[in-house]
Amino acid sequence: MRSIVRWIDEETGLITILHHFMEEPLPKGTGWAHVFGSIAFFLFLLQGLTGAFMMIYYVPTPDHAHESIEYIQRLPFGRIVRGLHHWGASAMVVFVGIHLVQVFLWGAYKKPRQIIWVIGVFLLLITFAFSFTGYLLPWDQKAYWATVVGTNIAGSIPLIGEPLKHILRSGEEVGAATLTRFYAIHIVLLPMLITVGIIFHIYQVRKKGITPPWSRVGEEPTEKPLLFYPDQVFKDLVAALIVLLVLLFLAVKFGAPLEERANPADVTYIPRPEWYFLPLFEVLKHLPGKYGEFFGAIVIPAIGTVLLLLFPYIDRNPERHPAKRPFAVGLMLFVFTVTTVFGVQALRSTPRPKGLDEIEARGEKLFMDLRCSACHGVNGGGGTAGPDLATLDDRNPQRLEAILRRPQTFNARSIMPSYDHLKDEDIIALVSYMRALGPGSRMPRIPIVGPKKPASHFDEHWMLEHKFEVRKDPTTCGTCHKPDFCQTCHQNRRPDSHLNGWIKAHFGTATERPEFCAVCHTKSYCQDCHKDTFHTPKWLEEHAKGFKARPAICKECHTQPYFCVECHKGAEPKSHTPDWIHRHAYEIRVSKDLEQTCTTCHERSFCTSCHEGKRPKSHEQPNFVGRRIRDGGRVKSGHALEAVQKGSQGCATCHDRRFCTNCHGTPMPHPQGFVNIHVTEARKDMALCQRCHFWNEPDCRQCHSQRPLSHTQDFRERHPQLVADGGMSCQVCHGRNACTDCHKLPMPHPQDFIQTHGELAKQRGIKGRDSMKQLQKQLCTTCHADKYCRKCHLPEMKR
C-alpha cells in the first residue's frame, strides 16, 4: 500500500502537495469558531452532489419539469436527495451568513486580508443567484410566481429595466426559454463561477494565513502551534456530520415542498419569497410609488452590497477585539436587528392557512373523498369546472347546505350531483369546511390513486374538450375510468345535443353509434319508451291507450299545446263521423273543393302531423320513383305520371314546392323556356337528363336530327379529344352503342377493361404467341401508339 502511495507521489507529486496543503500550521486560538467556512464549503459540495444526481432524471421543459420532479420523488431515496438539496440550499445561505458574521466579529477582514472578504461577498452573491435560479426549476406554482416577481423587480430599474427583464426571461413571459436559461445558469455558469471564487478565496486564506484571534493589525504573533490536519479538520468534520444529520432529519421528516404544477392563469396565488428574501420583501411594502420597487429591491441591496465590499477599506481601526470596536459591532447589531424585525414582520403578514377544527377537518376529508376537488378548486388548485370555493361570496350556511342537497334548484343546468344522500353530520362538516376557506387556504394535496392523469386532462379547457375526445374513441376512457364514471356528472344533466328537438333526431345516432347512448343509458332504455309508442300504421286507433299509460312521452315530441285539440276539438262537421279517418283520403280525392274546405278549420300543416313519414297508397306501387316506359317512346315513372294526372297541386298537399327540384337536381317541372337553356344544363350533368329522357325520344329528335356544327370535315380524326363527357352527348344522335359499334370494342373502355382485355382477345379467337400483335393490329392501334402495350407487356414479350 505504502509503495503504491510512494509510486503515485513519485509520478505526480500529488501526495506531497496534499501533505503541504493539509498540514498548514494554524495560530493559537483557532478552533470551533472557525468551522463555518468549512461547513459552507461542505454544503457547496453537498449541493453539487445532490444536484448532479437529480440531473439524472430532471428535464428542464415546462411540459415535463414538474412531472420529472414528481417522478424523482417517487423513486427510492428521491425524496431524501431532493430534501437534502432543498434544505441544503437554505443551510448554505445560513452558514455563509454565519461565516460572514464570524469573520466580521473576529475582525479577520482587516489588513492584509481585505481581498478575502471581497471575494467572500461575491461568493455570497453567487449563493443568492443559485437560490434564485434553482427556484424556478421544479416549475410549480411557487417557482413560477417567485420568478415572475423576481424578474419584474429587475424590470423596475429605470432605462435598462425592460431589456434586462427581457434578457432574464428570454422573452416577454416566463416560459420554456426562461426555464432552460435558468437551468443552464444554475448548473453550468454559477458552479463555474463559484468554483473559481472558492479556489481563489481559499488560496488567499492559505497565502495570508488564518487571523490570530484578537491580535491588533500589524502585531500578529508568528507562533503557529496547531496543524490544519488533523486538529482543525477533526472539528470541521464533526460540525459537517452534525449539519448533515440535521439536514437528513429535515429531508426525511419534511422532504422538499412541491406545489401544484405552475399555472400562469391562476391569479389567486399569493407568491411569497424564500425566507432570506423576506426582509427585502417587507421593505418593498413600505416604499410605494413609481420608483419604490426600484429603490427597495435594487438600490438598498446595491448600497448594502457596495458598503459590505468596501467595509475593509473603510474600517481603519487596527483593533480586532469586538469590545474595542464599538462602532463596527454596533453597526452590525443594528443591521441584524433591522433585518430580523423586517423579516418577522413579513412572516406575520403572510396569510397563513387557518388551522381547521375537528368538524372542518372532517369536511376537508369528505371534500377529497367525494372527489369534489375534481370540479372545485381552492385558491386556484383543483378543478376549474365549478366555482372556486375559497372565493365564494355568499357563505350563508343554509344556502350552502341547500346547494349540496339540491344543486339544480339554483342552476337548472348544473352538473353537480346531489349529495342529499349524505348523513346530516357529513353535510354540516362540508358546510363548515367551505365556510372556513378563505384567501389563505390551500388546496389539500390530492392523493394519486390509480394511473396518473394523462397530460390532456391538465388542459385549461379539458372540461369542454373531453366530449370531443370521448367521441373519438369511447373505449380509451375505459382504460382508466369505470363505465359509470360519466354518471358522476351526467346523471343530473342531459348532454347539449339532447336539448332541442332531440327526440326527433335521436334515431340516427342511436342506430349508428349505440355505444354513445350506452355511456349513460341502459339497454332497456329504448324499450322503455318505444314499447307503447311505436307509431305503427294502426297507431291512430291505439294512440289513446298509449297516451293514457304515459302522457308525458307524447309531450316529448308534440310540444304544441293545441296538438290534441286540433283533432279532438268539439265542434266537428257532420262529415267527421267516427269512420271519417278512414274515409277522408277518398273524400278529399273525389272532391277537389273539399281540400279547400279542410283548410277552413285545419292548418296546412295539419295533414303532416299525421302523414309525416306515412306515404299515400299510390306511393307504394312498384317503380313509383323508378323508371317505367310508356308507349310512344316516352318515358315516365309512376310518380311523374301521377304528378301529370293530378297536377303539381296534388303533390303539394304533402310536399314542398322544392321537393321535386331537390331530387331532380334541375328545376322541376321544367319552367317555360327551359328548352333554350337545356344545353347548358345538360352539359353540367348529362346523366341527370337521362334519368327521365331517352335520346331517341321524338321530342329530342325534332331538333337533334341535323349534323351539328362541331362535326367538321376532320371530325373523325379529332373526335377522341372532343368526346370529353364519356360519349354522353354523342348518344343523343348516335344512340347508346354508337362508339362500340364503330370501334368494335367496349367504348369508352369500362373501368375493368385493363383486366378483361386479354379475355376479349381470346373471345375474338386471337390465340398464341403473336396474339397481342394481332389484337393490336386489329383494334388497339386505331387509337393507341404501337408502343402503348409495352408499358405493361414488355417483360412478357421477352420471355
Binding site: 453537498l46 452532489l49 445532490t50 444526481f53 437529480m54 439524472i56 432524471y57 428535464v59 415535463h64 412531472e67 420529472s68 414528481e70 417522478y71 424523482i72 423513486l75 427510492p76 431515496f77 428521491g78 431524501i80 436527495v81 437534502l84 496543524l227 490536519y229 488533523p230 486538529d231 479538520v233 477533526f234 468534520l237 464533526v238 459537517a240 456530520l241 448533515l244 444529520l245 437528513l248 394511473p451 396518473k452 394523462p454 397530460a455 373505449t475 380509451t476 375505459g478 382504460t479 382508466c480
Partner: protein, 156 residues
C-alpha cells in the same frame, strides 16, 4: 509524545468521520441513481376484444392499446396478440413477438403456421416451433374472460 499520539487519534477519527459522512451521503445518492432497477412495474388487465370475434380453429389477431408509464411520461403502447380457441370455451393468447430476435410473427393461413419474416421461423397453431431458429415456443400471455371479453395481463 503525548502530542503525537493525540494527532494520531485525531487522524483516525478524521478517517472515521469522513467514512460516516461519505456513507450517509453515498447511500441515498447511489440509491437514487440505481433506483429504477428496483422500481416495480405494475401489472394491468387490458381489454383485447370480444370472444365472439374469435374464429374456432384459427388464430384471430387482435390489436390492443393501453397507457404505459415511461418514467415521468405516459404513452399509448400498442401490441398484437393472436387468440386461439378450438372449442369456443378454452382460449389461448399468444404474443406475436418471436422469441428468437423479437420480430412480429404473423399467421399464414395457407401454411397453417405462424411465420416470422426475419429468419423464417415457423410455429404451429399451439405456438410450438416447427422450423427455423427460434429457441422456444411463442410466449403465451396470461388472460381472463369477463363479460364476453378477453383481457390480458400486461406490465404498465
Amino acid at each position: 509524545m503525548d502530542e503525537i499520539s493525540r494527532r494520531q487519534w485525531l487522524s483516525k477519527m478524521c478517517g472515521l468521520l469522513s467514512a460516516i459522512v461519505a456513507a450517509l451521503l453515498g447511500v441515498p445518492l447511489l440509491g437514487l441513481s440505481l433506483g429504477t432497477m428496483f422500481h416495480r412495474r405494475k401489472t394491468l388487465w387490458v381489454k383485447v376484444g370480444p370472444i365472439s370475434a374469435v374464429k374456432k380453429g384459427e388464430p384471430t389477431k387482435f390489436v390492443y392499446s393501453f397507457l404505459k408509464e415511461d418514467a415521468y411520461l405516459q404513452k399509448t403502447e400498442r401490441g398484437t396478440v393472436y387468440v386461439i380457441t378450438h372449442d369456443g370455451k378454452n382460449f389461448k393468447v399468444f404474443s406475436n413477438i418471436c422469441p428468437h430476435a423479437g420480430c412480429g410473427v404473423r399467421w399464414e393461413r395457407q401454411f397453417q403456421a405462424f411465420f416470422c419474416p426475419c429468419h423464417n421461423g415457423k410455429f404451429d397453431i399451439n405456438g410450438q416451433v416447427i422450423a427455423g431458429p427460434p429457441p422456444k415456443p411463442l410466449n403465451e400471455i396470461q388472460h381472463k374472460i369477463e363479460g364476453g371479453f378477453i383481457f390480458i395481463k400486461v406490465k404498465a
